[in-house]
Symmetry: D2
Subunit: 269 residues, 4 copies
């Protein structure tokens, strides 16, 4: 059946015939394989043009920053899934990726929209501080948390965030979104009654948007980066399995508080 509008019928990303594969209008074999790196290729796939050196360095920096942070939920689910289903590496990667949601990892996208909302107000004459104050208060009035600030472990300071801003400075690519991200950090102690440091998921959209990265693909950066981390963990899981060990520890941390016969003894395993 026909669901939704049936108007658009084209793609501009790739086509091919028996001898040639075109990617974004370029001959994949002749012009891309062996000529450009994977990070440049990702930018080309997204935008249709090759990145400048500054753009490529910033995209690399964000991908490196977010690829790996130890045994976080997405890694645990991937390793448990491979332990249960070793026949399908793709299933374990997919299970891990499904944990890149609005609460964990996906906040890069929400933070990008938050900065963009502030940036839109500055274009009508408000200062960054005024605009930031207005938008933060709107978020709070709606009961929403401020995306891109605060971290369960790196409470005072997320070292990755500052480093990303330093890289942006090194390649002379500091613009309004980085400025806004800093303004918000300065305002939060006053507006929320406590300091909240910019975290890596806030710094990533700030530097990417200043570099001209497409806003609709912000979530793609943690998704692609984390896929690399997941594959490394799944390689380790093959030779040093911990999936079921983690699962056992996770189950042991939770009690059962439902009904039970008076004489029932739960297993201590």
């Amino acid at each position: 059946m026909k669901i939704g509008s049936q108007v658009h019928r084209s793609t501009a990303i790739s086509t091919s015939n028996e001898t040639t594969i075109l990617v974004r209008g370029r001959d994949l074999t002749r012009d891309l394989i062996g000529c450009i790196g994977f990070t440049e290729h990702f930018w080309l796939l997204l935008t249709g043009t090759l990145p400048t050196d500054a753009q490529r360095r910033i995209l690399d920096a964000t991908l490196v920053a977010i690829a790996e942070h130890g045994l976080v939920p997405s890694v645990q689910t991937a390793r448990m899934t491979l332990a249960a289903a070793p026949e399908a590496l793709q299933g374990a990667v997919a299970a891990g990726i499904l944990g890149c949601g609005s609460v964990v990892l996906g906040s890069s996208e929400a933070a990008g929209q938050f900065f963009a909302a502030i940036a839109a107000r500055t274009e009508t004459g408000e200062t960054a501080a005024q605009a930031a104050r207005t938008v933060v208060l709107e978020y709070r009035a709606d009961g929403r948390s401020i995306p891109g600030y605060g971290h369960p472990l790196h409470k005072g300071f997320d070292p990755r965030a500052q480093r990303l801003f330093d890289v942006a400075k090194e390649v002379a690519c500091v613009g309004s979104h980085i400025e806004i991200a800093r303004q918000v950090e300065l305002l939060l102690p006053d507006l929320l009654g406590k300091p909240l440091a910019l975290n890596v998921s806030g710094a990533i959209p700030a530097v990417l948007l200043d570099a001209g990265y497409p806003p609709g693909a912000l979530k793609g950066v943690p998704l692609l980066a984390r896929t690399a981390g997941l594959i490394a963990h799944l390689l380790e899981e093959q030779s040093r399995p911990i999936g079921f060990v983690m699962s056992h520890a996770a189950a042991a941390a939770i009690d059962y508080d439902g009904d039970a016969p008076p004489d029932f003894q739960p297993s201590d395993e």
Copy 2:
């Protein structure tokens, strides 16, 4: 409950405290972000050491080669899934990744195992040609297809395969697996009764294994590369949706041949 062995209880990939994140023993903020590219970081995550320039170039070449090939099944499933569930980009990427299986995309891993089986025989004194002949005949006796050869579109010649071998030559990284891959291509017309050209999924493991890439992570290359392509397609889907258009065309291509009342007229939509 305790499933499986509960012996191994360590990971060597990453750890952190409030101020420092260690990845493969290196300070992520000080030594990696802004210092190395994403491809180098992927190699580091997998192996614990940074790649040589030759290794990095070969890994880049394989990732660029396999990231994108138009509206293949994995891309279609990802775009249809985003059209149906736009709230979860991660779900659309996961759906696409699930199509990297043993028949499509995952044959890199199978081809790597095939080449490794031949390589193992050459280490006991057989020539590459002898060993290749033996292993090909074993595969045929078991009714298995030869992984890494033949392509539905690029029938005579997969241009990406030759280009990957050229890159390996440029960086002086041609070894026994590339030699074996070529030997097999020469033998197939005789052994199968028809020529089958080496395809990109055969060339990828050949060049990677000669470069020292870990065999257990071969499937990670198409998985990571295709994730980049999927994200580009999902960015396009947001502004130029074709997910439901493709779904309608797919449904229209299939007839219903089950029971039906004599007067039933199926919808032509």
Copy 3:
């Protein structure tokens, strides 16, 4: 690291020891297997109590209504995924389930929230018609479509919706949500300027909420039901494969409109 609140540490669904498995406080082996049907078990798992006969019949009716509707996007993605990755049936089912989103199939949940918003207003004294009018206009003011109404194929009338209401009447389980769903259908021609028939995704939450089904699990009904349909299609795909046929037709329906060299001829395959 500790993400989020770490307070709740219990589950009330199941526990076990070496000889006994308790599910919702009952002995699985003695009291459930062979004693109750799967639909009753699903209700028990969700709520902790067995359904009445009326509740069971309504839940059965909704599951039967939504399990299967031909080659819809979720079925296509599942069948394409199995064709590409036959080693992992679970991956094909997962890919299909990922298409149960806010646009397709998941609208049962959105419709349930819509009816609940209207029901909440009637409890403060408004008539169902007044409350429905107010909430519909709020949705339109926010640019949201009205969930549970309209269907791309069953335009004038979704036969499944009426049948579900008839079942509710048969088991004497018609309450305020069904009444609201009907009121909205009557109001829509006036409020939207065109008629929109209640569809199956609107009727499902109406009958379930009147039966006392938990609102937070509304999306579970299309998810569970569609899983049954997906498994049937994947069984058929094993013996009569159409995954790649659908993929070919889907790709052929889309043009390439990106850059290309002047002499480039795309493959007609």
Copy 4:
């Protein structure tokens, strides 16, 4: 591009027009919704015919038996995924389903193939005991474990397995597969040097195959059943979240044994 054979172009499961939806040749609205239960519908979807009462009771019993077993890996991954991505219930269900693999849950399918291999030998004149001995020894010679026997918690006896056999007896549906499953259990102490009790994943295919359930859909039973259990856990997770608590406990159970600077102190969080 055209991948694979393009011959089969039909489906026999469902079709529809504007007023009628046919499922397996029956009018969904008139003949199925409200008339049959979900378990009967699942059998109809798979086979094209309605089950007998005995078949329906056996399918119900297997679905009830395998739907829920506490905080197993698939449940943990689903709950962690919902905690990280609450916007997509379908993603959390999909992540859980991906853990229904060859090691966990999916062994129903492997056990079914194992019993079928033994059954095939009995049809050529061997006794069940002879055939079972031969096939067990073949599995051991190939280094494969015997699917459907042994359980990490229910070591001496899986109570669900016996109950399923009792149900089969009650409905007079005991055939060669149940007999084979019992023969294997008797032989294992001698052949393996230790007893291994038939587990639920061994009993499920035995009773289903004796009831005429399609062998290619054996894995569908744990997949469908577990989906019900996952939805119940995800409903509980919404009001009593434990996803991040389990994740924290899982991470705390694993040490880091990679390189680190001499003065590095890992966080005890």
